[in-house]
C-alpha cells in the first residue's frame, strides 16, 4: 500500500463530525479531510511525547510538536494552537501544505519500529482550525509601541510572518503588495485541494488581528514603490518578493497559445470559482519534476483533461517532488514519463503537441540526449521548470546564484534592508521556510533597530 493510499484509508472514514468527501466533490475538496475529534484523540495518543524530539529539529520553524500534541490529547486544542502559532503564525497553511513526509513526520520515532509516523500535519491542522473557528481575541499581545516603522515588500508567507512578528515586538508595519489580495503563494500558488474554503484569506485576517499592520495593495516594487524611497521613509525594510519570473524552455513557439507557466495556471485556477469554469486542455503535457509540476498535473486531470502526461528529464529518484506527491500524480491518472526532454513544440495553426528526446546519463554522469525521439500530442502545455528572481527592481542589493545575498541576520548588502523567503537562499523553497525567514528577520530587525 502506498503512503497515499494509507493516508486516504485512515482519514476517509470520518463519521463523527469529520469533513469527509461529500457527494458534491468537484475534485477540489480537501486532499486530506480534517480530523474529527475522535481521530485527533486517537492520533494524538500515538505521540510518545519525546524529549528533545527529532520532529522539532526537522521543522524549519521549530514548532514544539510534542507539546502541542500533548495539549490536544489532554483536551486543550486551543493551547495546542498557541504553541504552534507562537513558532509559526502560518501553522494553518503549513499543516495543509507542508511536505510533512520529508520534514517532521519523517523524523518521527514511530517510524523506527512501526514504520508509521504520527500524522503531525493533520493534528496541527486540527488544533489551528479549532482555535480559528472560535472567533477569540488574537492569541498574541503586542509589546509596547516602539515608534519604529518597518516596510515589508510582499504579502506572502515571508512578508506576513515578518510583519506579524515585528508588530508583536511593538513596531508598526506597512506591507506593500503588488497583487489585489494578500497571501502570496498561499493564495495563488498552492494546489486548490490543499487550501480549501478560502483558507489563505482567513489566515491573513487572523494574522492581522495582532494589530499594527497595514497592507497597501496594488503596490509593485519598481513600478509603484522603490526600494530607495522606502529606505528613506522607514526605519527598516524587509524584502519578501519571492521569485517573480519563470524559466523558459528555450524552444520556438513558447509564446504559442496553450503554452503556459504551471504557476500561472495554478494562480488562475485558485482564483476561479466554481473550479469547473476553469478551461483545461483535453491532452495536457506538464514539464518538470517538482511539486509545482505535480500540482499542475493533478489539477489539470481533476479539471477533466482526458490525458495528462508529466515529462521529466531524469528518473523518479531525481524528482524534487516528494514520494507522496509522485504517488498522488499516479493515483490521479497522470502518466509520468521519465528520462525525456522537450525538443520542439508542435503547432499547426493550433497547438498539436510536443517532441521529446530520450535522455540518459553518459559515462561522466552528465545528462545527454540519446537521439531517440517521440511525440506526445497536446492542446495545452504547462511548464514547471522552476522560477527565478526578477532582478530589475532589486538594485542596491547583491544578488548571487539567482538569490538575494543575506548575512546570518537576514540583512542584505544594503544596510537596513533585510530579506527572506524564496528570494533568498535559506532552506527549501517551502512556505514553512519562508515563515521561518520572516520570523527570524523580524527578530533581527528588532535587534537592528534597538542597536541603531
Amino acid at each position: 500500500m502506498t503512503t497515499l493510499q494509507a493516508k486516504q484509508v485512515s482519514k476517509s472514514g470520518a463519521i463523527h463530525g469529520g469533513a469527509g468527501h461529500n457527494a458534491a466533490d468537484d475534485g477540489f475538496s480537501d486532499l486530506h479531510p480534517a480530523y474529527s475529534t475522535l481521530q485527533a484523540m486517537a492520533e494524538s495518543n500515538r505521540c510518545l511525547y519525546c524529549y528533545d524530539a527529532p520532529c522539532v529539529t526537522a521543522c524549519p520553524t521549530s514548532i514544539d510538536i510534542p507539546t502541542f500534541i500533548r495539549k490536544i490529547s489532554t483536551g486543550n486544542p486551543d493551547g495546542a494552537a498557541k504553541t504552534i502559532l507562537s513558532a509559526n503564525i502560518m501553522g494553518g497553511t503549513c499543516a495543509r501544505a507542508c511536505p510533512t513526509e520529508v520534514l517532521c513526520e519523517q523524523a518521527c520515532v514511530r517510524n523506527v519500529a512501526e514504520d508509521t509516523a504520527v500524522e503531525i500535519g493533520s493534528l496541527q491542522r486540527f488544533a489551528v482550525d479549532h482555535l480559528m473557528a472560535r472567533d477569540l481575541p488574537h492569541p498574541f499581545k503586542r509589546a509596547p509601541e516602539t515608534g519604529k516603522n518597518i516596510a515589508v515588500i510582499g504579502a506572502g508567507p515571508a512578508g506576513l510572518s515578518c510583519a506579524h512578528r515585528a508588530a508583536m515586538l511593538g513596531h508598526n508595519v506597512t506591507v506593500f503588495e503588488a497583487k489585489a489580495k494578500p497571501g502570496g503563494l498561499n493564495e495563488y500558488g498552492l494546489a486548490a485541494y490543499k487550501m480549501t474554503n478560502d483558507f489563505a484569506q482567513r489566515e491573513v485576517e487572523f494574522l492581522l488581528g495582532i494589530g499594527g499592520i497595514r497592507i497597501e495593495y496594488g503596490k509593485a516594487l519598481g513600478k509603484d514603490i522603490s526600494l530607495a524611497a522606502l529606505k528613506d521613509s522607514y526605519d527598516a525594510v524587509f524584502v519578501g518578493v519571492g521569485l517573480g519570473s519563470t524559466n523558459n524552455l528555450g524552444l520556438t513557439g513558447e509564446d504559442f497559445p496553450g503554452v503556459d507557466d504551471a504557476i500561472s495556471f495554478i494562480e488562475k485556477l485558485r482564483q476561479t470559482e466554481p473550479k469547473s469554469d476553469m478551461p483545461v486542455g483535453n491532452n495536457v503535457i506538464v514539464i518538470g519534476g517538482g511539486n509545482t509540476a505535480i500540482d499542475a498535473a493533478v489539477q489539470a486531470k481533476r479539471l477533466g483533461a482526458d490525458e495528462v502526461t508529466l515529462v521529466y528529464r531524469r528518473g523518479a529518484e531525481n524528482m524534487s517532488a516528494t514520494e507522496f506527491e509522485q504517488d498522488l500524480a499516479k493515483t490521479n491518472g497522470v502518466v509520468v514519463r521519465y528520462w525525456a526532454k522537450p525538443v520542439a513544440i508542435k503547432a499547426n495553426g493550433k497547438l498539436q503537441g510536443m517532441e521529446f528526446e530520450k535522455t540518459e546519463l553518459d559515462a561522466s554522469g552528465k545528462l545527454v540526449g540519446t537521439g531517440e525521439t517521440f511525440e506526445v500530442r497536446a492542446d495545452q502545455i504547462l511548464k514547471a521548470i522552476g522560477q527565478k528572481i526578477k532582478t530589475d527592481d532589486l538594485a542596491g542589493m547583491e544578488i548571487a546564484g539567482g538569490k538575494i545575498v543575506v548575512d546570518e541576520n537576514y540583512q542584505t548588502t544594503a544596510p537596513g534592508v533585510f530579506a527572506g523567503g524564496d528570494c533568498i537562499k535559506s532552506g527549501e523553497d517551502l512556505t514553512v521556510q519562508s515563515v521561518e525567514d520572516g520570523k527570524q528577520a523580524a527578530i533581527a530587525i528588532d535587534a537592528f533597530l534597538k542597536s541603531a
Binding site: 510518545l48 519525546c50 524529549y51 528533545d52 524530539a53 489532554t74 520515532v109 514511530r110 519500529a113
Partner: protein, 425 residues
C-alpha cells in the same frame, strides 16, 4: 490444554473465573449468557431483605486515560432492586439448567442476628453452592448501617460471619472492604467467625471525577454527586497487596481467598492466584467488554500453564507467597543497573528526561556523528530504580541487569549503618 478446574472453600469449579456480585449477575438472563460464554461461576448480585432497594438514575463514573480507555469505574448502584423471591426462583432455575456451574448467593442485612440468619437460610434453600457476605459496599448501603459500615468493624465482621455459619451448612465467603487501615484485622475476624473463605477486595471508596462545567462530582444525579465504589484495573495493585497480606499472615493463611480487584487479563488472574487466591472474580472487564473476555482468560492461562509445565492451577496457586517479604527482609547488598540496547532504541529520549529531571541523572544523551542520538547509562549514578525500564515505550529495549557482587546478603536490621542496630548493641 491444561486443566483449569479448581476447588475453593470445598466447592469444585470448572475454572477459576467467576463473575463477581455486581450488575452483570443481577438476573437469570445475564447469568445464562455468562455460563454460555464459559464463566465457571457467578456470585449473584447481593440480595437483601424485601422491600427491594430503589436505585438512582446515573450510576457509574469513569476514570479514562487520554485515549478514552477505561482505567476504572466507580458506581453508586445499590444491591439487587428486584424482589427476593424473583431472584431466588431464578437462582433455582439456573442451578437446574447449569448443574456444573457454581452459583454463590451474595447477601447483606442490617446488623441483627435474625435478619442475617433468616436471609441466609432462604438463599441456601435456593440451592446455591455457598454464601458470600457483602460487608463492603462503600456507598449508599453503609448509610443504612450495612455494607462497609459492618465490614469496617472487625467485631461485626466476626459476628455476622458466625451468625451465617450457624444458620447454614454450605461454605461461607466473607467479602472484605479495602476501606480500612489493615486488611488483616477484618480477615482475622472473618476467620474467627468461621468463614471458609474471604473474597476481596470490594470496591474502593472514591470520587472518580468532577464535571468542571457544572462543578458536580460524577456520576451526577440531578445536580449532586456522591462517593462511590471504585473498581477496574486501577485498583488491582491495592487488591494484590491485601490478598498477599492475608495469604502470608500466620493467623489467616489457612483461609481460602477468592481474589477480586481489577482482573482484566489472564495474567492478572495468574498474579492473584500466585499471591494466594484459590480462584478469582471479575466484574469491570466484563462490564467494559462483555462476557466474551472469559475466552482469553481461559485460553491465556491455559497456554501459559502449558508453556510452564503446570498441569493444575493448584501448582502455581500461592507460588509467589513465600517471596512476599517485609522491607526489612530485603537484601541491601543487591544491586541492579539499567542497560539500554541501542539496537532497539527508537531515540524518544523519555528515559533521559525522566532520569535527568526526577531520578539520578544516570542516562546521558549524546548526538551520534552519523546522526541520531545515543542514550547511555552511567553505571556509577544508576541506583537500579527501574524508572527508565518502566517508561520506555519499547519492550525489551531497557533491561535491568543484576550486578555481580561478592557481598553476602544483608538486611537493614543487620546493616552497620542502621542506628537501631547500633543502639541495640
Amino acid at each position: 490444554m491444561a486443566d483449569l478446574s479448581c476447588k475453593i472453600a470445598g466447592i469444585d469449579s470448572l475454572n477459576p473465573f467467576w463473575l463477581a456480585s455486581a450488575p452483570p449477575t443481577d438476573k437469570k438472563y445475564n447469568v445464562v449468557r455468562a455460563f454460555e460464554a464459559g464463566w465457571g461461576g457467578v456470585v449473584w448480585k447481593t440480595l437483601g431483605i424485601d422491600p427491594p432497594v430503589i436505585n438512582v438514575s446515573s450510576r457509574y463514573g469513569a476514570h479514562h486515560d487520554q485515549n478514552r480507555r477505561l482505567l476504572g469505574i466507580n458506581n453508586i448502584e445499590l444491591i439487587s432492586d428486584r424482589p427476593l423471591a424473583v431472584n431466588l426462583q431464578e437462582i433455582r432455575e439456573c442451578r437446574a439448567e447449569y448443574p456444573d456451574h457454581v452459583i454463590i448467593g451474595s447477601m447483606m442485612a442490617p446488623i441483627e442476628e435474625r435478619a442475617w440468619k433468616d436471609l441466609a437460610q432462604q438463599i441456601a434453600e435456593s440451592g446455591v453452592h455457598g454464601i458470600e457476605l457483602n460487608l463492603g459496599c462503600p456507598h449508599g448501603m453503609c448509610e443504612r448501617g450495612m455494607g462497609s459500615a459492618i465490614g469496617q468493624v472487625p467485631e461485626m465482621v466476626e459476628q455476622v460471619t458466625r451468625w451465617v455459619k450457624e444458620s447454614v451448612d454450605i461454605p461461607v465467603f466473607t467479602k472484605l472492604t479495602p476501606n480500612i487501615t489493615n486488611i488483616l484485622w477484618s480477615a482475622e475476624a472473618a476467620y474467627k467467625g468461621g468463614a471458609d473463605a474471604v473474597s476481596l477486595i470490594n470496591t474502593v471508596n472514591s470520587i472518580i471525577s468532577v464535571d468542571i462545567d457544572q462543578m458536580v462530582p460524577e456520576p451526577m444525579v440531578d445536580g449532586k454527586g456522591t462517593h462511590g465504589g471504585y473498581c477496574g484495573s486501577a485498583v488491582k495493585p491495592i487488591a494484590l497487596n491485601m490478598v498477599a497480606e492475608i495469604a502470608r499472615s500466620p493467623e489467616t493463611k489457612n483461609l481460602h481467598i477468592s481474589g477480586i480487584g481489577g482482573i482484566t487479563t489472564w495474567k492478572d488472574a495468574v498474579e492473584f492466584m500466585a499471591l494466594g487466591s484459590n480462584a478469582v472474580q471479575v466484574c469491570t472487564a466484563a462490564m467494559i467488554y462483555g462476557f466474551r473476555v472469559v475466552d482469553d482468560l481461559i485460553d491465556g492461562m491455559s497456554q501459559w500453564m502449558d508453556d510452564k509445565g503446570y498441569t493444575s492451577v493448584e501448582q502455581f496457586t500461592r507460588a509467589a507467597v513465600p517471596q512476599v517479604a517485609d522491607w526489612n527482609e530485603l537484601n541491601m547488598n543487591f544491586d541492579t543497573k539499567a542497560v539500554i540496547n541501542p539496537d532497539n532504541c527508537i531515540e524518544c529520549g523519555r528515559c533521559h528526561i525522566a532520569c535527568e529531571d526526577t531520578s539520578h541523572q544516570a542516562i546521558t544523551m549524546t548526538n551520534k556523528p552519523e546522526g541520531g542520538r545515543l542514550f547511555e547509562v552511567v553505571d556509577e549514578e544508576c541506583v537500579g530504580c527501574n524508572l527508565c525500564y518502566h517508561i520506555c515505550p519499547v519492550p525489551d529495549c531497557i533491561t535491568m541487569e543484576p550486578v555481580k557482587t561478592d557481598k553476602p546478603p544483608m538486611t537493614w536490621p543487620e546493616h552497620p549503618l542502621n542506628p537501631m542496630r547500633m543502639a541495640a548493641e
